[in-house]
């Protein structure tokens, strides 16, 4: 049996963490070691926009130690990711290069949606417990240093996910500019978060009632997990039961709280902010139960890596969550559900039949599906300039689980579905490099073709079949409807398809009477 040792490194905004995992078919993920070191990269960066040299030195020192420990375990691979502090730092590229030079560790920066998706995956890695909770209407509240992410679930499916820039460190930073007494702290935090939360409620929550809240944070969760471990707390608690904790936080000194919760004193304000925020969100949503599974980004990083190398497959289908998320975005902008489904259907049929020619994989297929779903979202703003408006909507909307580049791929496919294709040039200042450009070109060609096949938006060619025969792609439609319009548009898009794939699409109709 092959066992892989994997190191996951999280360069967080408040803490550096490395976990060593063993991955095997039998045990799945087994945590071997967990090394944490507090380092506040966040508050300075949020205030000045840069990571200071002193912080970088300290960061490199710790990462060097991490590297030594990782090597001592003879880890087969590692993945290191930085989060919001690096996302917001102007000098992140320079710092990342310094880290690489000094420690040998290559740190990637996660986009917010990628990071949240990893957190979400790590919660899902809790298996049975996770599935049970999300049976009811559930919100995942992922509280980070810079921002928080609210994701809603309905019966096992992700409904929406939204980012709000009211992270714990950011709020603490804001509070430092205000003079206040300890007794006022709770009210102050409440005020700071409520403005944003009520907008969120109006837009996304409407009248939905949420039953459960899953909390993912680095402040309250560790304490909760510890309390569950020692039997002082149930793993899922009622909202009303959190009052006791609030009372302790409200009335005692930092020293007392630090002792009682077994945390360091400087962490106390962060716990307070996290606690107030959690309760505020829970009451806003009308949630009754709270679950803090105590997952970390490292768990998510490892889970994803294990999936990638096919060490194991989780029970929850995350791809469907991304798709569900896209469907909800489309719905918000009055997209046609039926048309989206038809397009998705036709595009995947073509994609699958063309595998040998395009050489793309599952992930690219997902981009295509997302593009098909979101192909007309710009209509909400303008019926004239759909390509550009759709592009802008997608670029401005977070799609959980997609990195920034991936989102740009989807947005470009949708844009070129409507507008003229811009060819890649060396001088071009596009956000995509050559490799991504090719993906966009190929997927655009498929989407355009599929789009032409449903020109009338009447889903006439729903049950289309595709087969690749030498240089021809035979598309066979079993329909008795009149497809004159489709045929016309089909021929018009053919040219680009041939240009990209050197394969000529041929539409054949089998009339059934």
């Amino acid at each position: 049996m092959s066992v892989k040792t994997f190191a996951a490194i999280d360069v967080g905004s408040y803490e550096l963490c490395m976990k060593i995992f063993e991955l095997s078919g039998k045990n799945k993920m087994k945590e071997i070691d967990c090394i944490k070191q507090s380092l506040d990269l966040g508050s300075g960066t949020y205030a000045t926009g840069k990571i200071s040299n002193e912080k970088m030195d300290e960061l490199c020192r710790v990462l060097k130690e991490f590297a030594a420990i990782k090597d001592a375990y003879k880890a087969d691979t590692y993945k290191a990711y930085a989060t919001s502090a690096f996302r917001e730092a102007e000098n992140s590229v320079i710092i990342l290069d310094q880290i690489k030079q000094r420690t040998g560790i290559q740190v990637g920066v996660l986009s917010n949606s990628e990071q949240r998706f990893l957190t979400y995956k790590s919660i899902a890695s809790k298996g049975e417990a996770f599935r049970k909770v999300i049976e009811g209407k559930t919100a995942i509240v992922d509280i980070g240093g810079g921002s928080i992410q609210l994701s809603l679930f309905d019966k096992d499916t992700l409904v929406s996910t939204q980012n709000l820039r009211i992270g714990v460190l950011r709020i603490m930073e804001m509070m430092q500019h205000v003079n206040f007494k300890r007794a006022q702290a709770e009210g102050l935090i409440d005020e700071l978060v409520t403005a944003q939360l009520s907008t969120y409620k109006k837009l996304y929550l409407k009248d939905q009632e949420i039953e459960n809240i899953i909390i993912a944070d680095d402040y309250l969760s560790p304490w909760a997990v510890k309390s569950v471990k020692t039997g002082r707390l149930q793993s899922v608690v009622k909202l009303s039961e959190t009052e006791e904790l609030m009372q302790i936080l409200r009335t005692n000194s930092n020293t007392y709280i630090a002792n009682a919760m077994e945390i360091t004193e400087e962490k106390v304000p962060l716990v307070l902010i996290s606690a107030v925020m959690t309760r505020r969100i829970a009451s806003l949503m009308g949630a009754e139960y709270i679950w803090a599974p105590g997952v970390t980004l490292c768990d998510g990083i490892t889970y994803e890596y294990a999936e990638q190398i096919n060490m194991f497959r989780g029970e929850h289908d995350f791809e469907e969550d991304i798709v569900a998320c896209a469907i909800n975005i489309s719905k918000r902008y009055m997209g046609s559900k039926k048309r989206s489904e038809t397009l998705e259907n036709i595009t995947t049929t073509i994609f699958d039949s063309m595998k040998k020619v395009h050489g793309l994989g599952e992930r690219e297929k997902l981009y295509l599906r997302l593009a098909a779903i979101l192909h007309d979202c710009g209509k909400y703003i303008s019926l004239v300039n759909i390509g550009e408006t759709s592009y802008n909507i997608i670029m401005a909307t977070e799609i959980i689980g997609l990195s920034h580049v991936e989102r740009a791929i989807v947005a470009n496919i949708v844009r070129y579905n409507h507008s003229n294709f811009d060819y890649f040039t060396q001088e071009g200042t596009t956000e995509l490099n050559k490799e991504y450009y090719l993906i966009v070109a190929k997927l655009t060609a498929i989407l355009r073709l599929a789009n032409s096949l449903d020109r009338s938006h009447n889903q006439k060619l729903k049950g289309i079949k595709a087969k690749l025969k030498e240089n021809e792609l035979i598309l066979q439609a079993d329909t008795s409807a009149d497809i004159t319009l489709e045929k016309g548009f089909f021929e018009a898009t053919e040219e680009f398809f041939v240009e990209v794939f050197s394969v000529t699409p041929v539409l054949m109709q089998h009339k059934r009477f």
Partner: protein, 709 residues
Amino acid sequence: MAEKRFKNPKYYTNRELSWILFNHRVLNEARDKNIPLFERLKFLGITASNLDEFFMVRVASLKDMISANYDKTDIAGMTPARQLKEVQVAIHKFVDLQYSTLNRSLVPQLEKKGVHAIKYHEMLTEEEAAYVDRYFSEYVYPVLTPMAVDSSRPFPLIRNRSLNIGAMVKRNKSDEEWEFAMVQVPSVLARVVELPSEGKMRKVIRLEEIIERNIQKLFLSYHIVCAHPFRIMRNADMTIEEDEAEDLLIEIEKQLKQRQRGDVIRLEVEDGMDKRLLRFIQGELQIGDEDTYEIDGPLDLTALTKLYGLDGFDYLKEPKYVPQQSTDLPAGCDIFEQIRGGDILLHHPYQTFSPVVEFVRQASRDPKVLAIKQTLYRVSGNSPIIASLAQAAENGKQVTVLVELKARFDEENNIGWARMLEKAGCHVIYGLVGLKTHSKITLVVRKEEDGIRRYVHLGTGNYNDATAKIYTDVGVLTCSELFGDDATAVFNMLSGYSEPLGWNKLALAPLWLKDKFLHLIAREKQHAQEGHPARIIAKMNSLCDGDIIAALYEASAAGVQIDLIVRGICCLKVGIPGVSEHITVRSIVGNFLEHSRIFYFENNGQYEIYCGSADWMPRNLERRVEILFPVDRQEIKEELLHILENQLRDNVKASILQKDGSYIKPDKRGKHLFNSQVAFCEEAVEKAKALMEESPLNTRTFQPEYHQE
């Protein structure tokens, strides 16, 4: 928190006075006629070195408190001034008893057994005197540094714990004026010199007598009025300002030099020293009569422990016990394989310490081992464990060693090893700021076919192969995942990383351990209140934590039967109506130094046993890194319970604490004598013998290979 009434100072004994009682129990061994003579001499020597340490640390700290005007009362309601006063009185009595034991009992016994100790050089015969003088000029004279004090030469610095000869000297015999001169008795030479003798009687004389006899040769132009030995003791309790110390290592080295110069807190002089000389020395050292001990006999009895090594007297010593092989770990076995078969208990010194040394040695050479991590508190000179750790680092393994520099009196030793390990490539941690790391834990990380497996050794004693032959300790070897997780977390914490979210098995001081004990004691109390069986048996070195004692009182009042086996200090009082009627305390002082800490909790029939590095003392529970670990395997639990039960049965080496605070030996009339240490030795020998018989020698044969088609 325990009820307030249990915190009443009158329910507590002062720890210093309780310690003096402990040293009395050691002295009782020197006074026990059933014990071989040389063992008795050794015990007397031990009481002397114990007392030295007590002065340097405890008396010194009382004096510090007084000079800082600190007058907070202790657990027994005594101010430092009152404590010092009572301690001084008690020690004077104790020293008198030490010397009456020596003079009235041991010296006459020695004489009977054929050793004649010549008390004064004046008693030498002419031939002997000639021999002594020759010895002086050949060996002694070259290493002496005589010093005179006059207006141009100040009073010299006298080294801590050194033995010296002070003399009154005059320039001319007729002078009124006298001057002070002195010479240190060199510690590099043997304190006792054997004289050539005919016949069976062997004769010895002390080195200081030889010097005294020849002192004129040191101060040639002077007239010697008189010469007497004296010895001083200095304050050694150093508090290190760690926040100010840039480099802890340098700071401790500095402190070590300073230790020579601390305030003088005790002066020992020969009985009958010229009063003028005594007053002069007292004046120069600024020391009063209460701290001056006029001694009827040789100063510094610690030399007696060296006398024990004298050849030819084996018949006057206990037969030497050879630690036995553990049946779970026969010599030459693959230790890792054995541990995989189940947790293993080691009981030292009855069982040999070598598996622990071997554990580290095998790990250092095993290609599958990735990392070795260990805490070292006190290690022996030339420690094989250190050598293995260095070897492991050279073999490319990640080696992390926490060397506790603050281990009292061992700093010099530890700094040396620490530097050597660093050179070999080990990652050396010099303890934690503000805390002493007293825990004894070793972690070996091994990459095996089915993944990483962690092997852990947890013990109650230091990783010191020399003391493991004398100290009774227990240790457990395990590869249980839960212990592995915790051990990994312990070393992460010791390396300065954040603490884990929770512990599976271990309880650590200074953060969680006290609460754990209080919880376990309270649980027994609750069982008792609910009418369930409730009992605590706890074995440790010292008991003086107020919170724990109050909790024990509370449990006793609720009906929990509590049996304590406390070798040293015990601030708890027994037999107080309504408070401690259900508590017994016994102290075992025997040939081996009782050192293991084992805690038994009845837990309503589901008994739990814990072992650890911590005593029930505030310093262990609040200012040190200590580990308490539960024992899971049923067989080991039974063995540990057996150890405790045997110690409770002991009626030879045990002394029982009485209501009035004194200790007496149990009444043996009509009872079968039972010495638990002897019983453990016998058991270990039996087991090892059974093991030998099980594996007959004929299994050691060569296997011929045959050609096969």
